[in-house]
Amino acid sequence: MDTLTPRTADAVELDLSGVGLRETNRLLHHPEELTGTTVTISHPQGAHSVAAGLDAPLVITVAGHVGYYAAGMNQQATITVDGNCGPGVAENMMSGRVRVRGNASQSAGATAHGGLLIIDGDAGARCGISMKGVDIVVGGNVGHSSAFMAQAGRLVVRGDAGDGFGDSIYEARLYVRGRVASLGADCVAKDMGPDQLTELAGLLEAAGYDDDPAEYTRYGSARRLYHFHTDNANAY
């Protein structure tokens, strides 16, 4: 296939504008058909579902902007988007590592169970919605309703958080360096102990940032809404 050009012995370029999305993803789902484990996807041109459903330790660079659900449900792969992402980047990721060099639209890392999602720019609304164990580090700000119903995992925001932060949160742990516009139901600020400082330092280091963890505030569940009670009706 002429569009499948080996760069070096171990590097493959897939030109999305020529190979097409279906064939690109099919090849990524069958890495044994690739001539290497390092892949550059060029000319993504805002396509949706780029590199979705991977389950192999490939190292992928997407050279440009992508649409919805880039790296969706990722397992094992290390994927870098050299551009901006539409909604749902790395949604339901299980493992691996996804880095967005630009900004990400809403629902980044939604429902993800594992792995590490790094967004160097800003993330839109609902970042980390219903997150189930993923670690997310956002270089800039996050939009409203981020960490909504967040069940497990860690979300680090180096900038500010929008309204309704952590609404109806379960057991996820949230760290914000900047200002939180408003907290959602049952989300409260919590003390930063030595364990939290160590945890946060590890997350920042994994994402390649060297902020002082002491500048951050931790947020989590007050666990007041875990059981129905009529006196809590106004909290929802």
Partner: protein, 451 residues
Amino acid sequence: MAVGQPTTQPGASADWRAEHGLRESATFDRATIHEIQRAAATGVYDIRGWGAKRPLPHFDDLVFLGASMSRYPLEGYRERCDTDIVLGDRHASKPLHLDIPVTIAGMSFGALSAQAKEALGRGASLVGTSTTTGDGGMTPEERGHSRLLVYQYLPSRYGMNPDDLRAADAIEVVLGQGAKPGGGGMLLGQKITERVARMRTLPVGIDQRSASRHPDWTGPDDLTIKINELREITDWEKPIYVKVGATRTYYDVKLAVHAGADVVVVDGMQGGTAATQEVFIEHVGIPTLAAIPQAVQALQELGVHRKVQLIVSGGIRGGADLAKALSLGADAVSIGSAALIALGDNDPALEADYRALGSAAGFYDDFQDGLDPAGISTQDPVLAARLDPVAGGRRLANFLSVMTMEAQTIARACGKAHVCHLEPEDLVALSIEAAAMARVPLAGTDWIPGR
């Protein structure tokens, strides 16, 4: 709703009340009075399982016009009347081939015991049909015992896992269910055991409220992109269903088709639930009967009737209901409550157990409490062990076979060599309401109200 301990005093019968001229209010009947008293005492709304209990226009209000002078019947035990169907051959490379047009509706592990899920899989597999996961992920028992398994893709995404997605035979994107269109799932703390909690990534014992909106898409245009993502992840192998609770069915079905659904599932308000507010169950959504013609019209106008298959659920109780749904244009039906009853739910043999819970056989609907003496809607290992998955599966298979044979009986009487050849012209209605909703004439007339 628990009805409280029944009165056992001698003479406290309906006759006794009538003899004394006591008149019950139709507006404030005993169940209504009880509910007001219960709400006043507890300060929480009533939550229960099952579907709408109020009388509704339903399949009972339709009858078939069997063959006679102008139609030729098929010989009951000699001529073939096929029942097999194909679901999802529009886009998927691996569509489902079912031997019977009855599938098992989505019910979660969590709401149901592992034994019940296994029994559903066994029963469905024995007769060559599919079963469906629920709002709690896929269990190995369920996958192992279901020859064909539909994996639900729900707003909560509990246990959502691409490995399970790839292990499924079809994917059902759930927008809503008939018992609560616009509402999310609910599982109270009693049923959030260690295993259920782990599968859902939740703390043990909390009252769990599932999301009602999908977290990463909004509206039909986004759904198109989402469906394409699911196809990309599964390499375009799996049929994608879209399930909606019956409300604005005509529009919902059109939008589902535009979004790329291979199969549309429409669940009427009689469809069951494991736990929902009573007010939601009884007052939101439309009857199954009213939804089917809307769905069929939408499919026909788009030129995809029988190409995008229609599965109808909500109050399907036997072969007559199956035959009527198919006649109105469905390709298959789905059963939930009836399947649980076949497994042993509300068994009169358990009357003493139901009484101890303040209920009675035939009335038990407190599935949210996790105390089901039949071992079905529970996570208590002792109770769950009461259900033998092999025997339960056999009972379900028997019931599904009876349903199918009943539908064949009707189809042959109408001269049809396949149950899906039944058509609206084979039906008339017994009430004006049913005639209007089902869009078939009132019996003995050529009148379809609204036409």
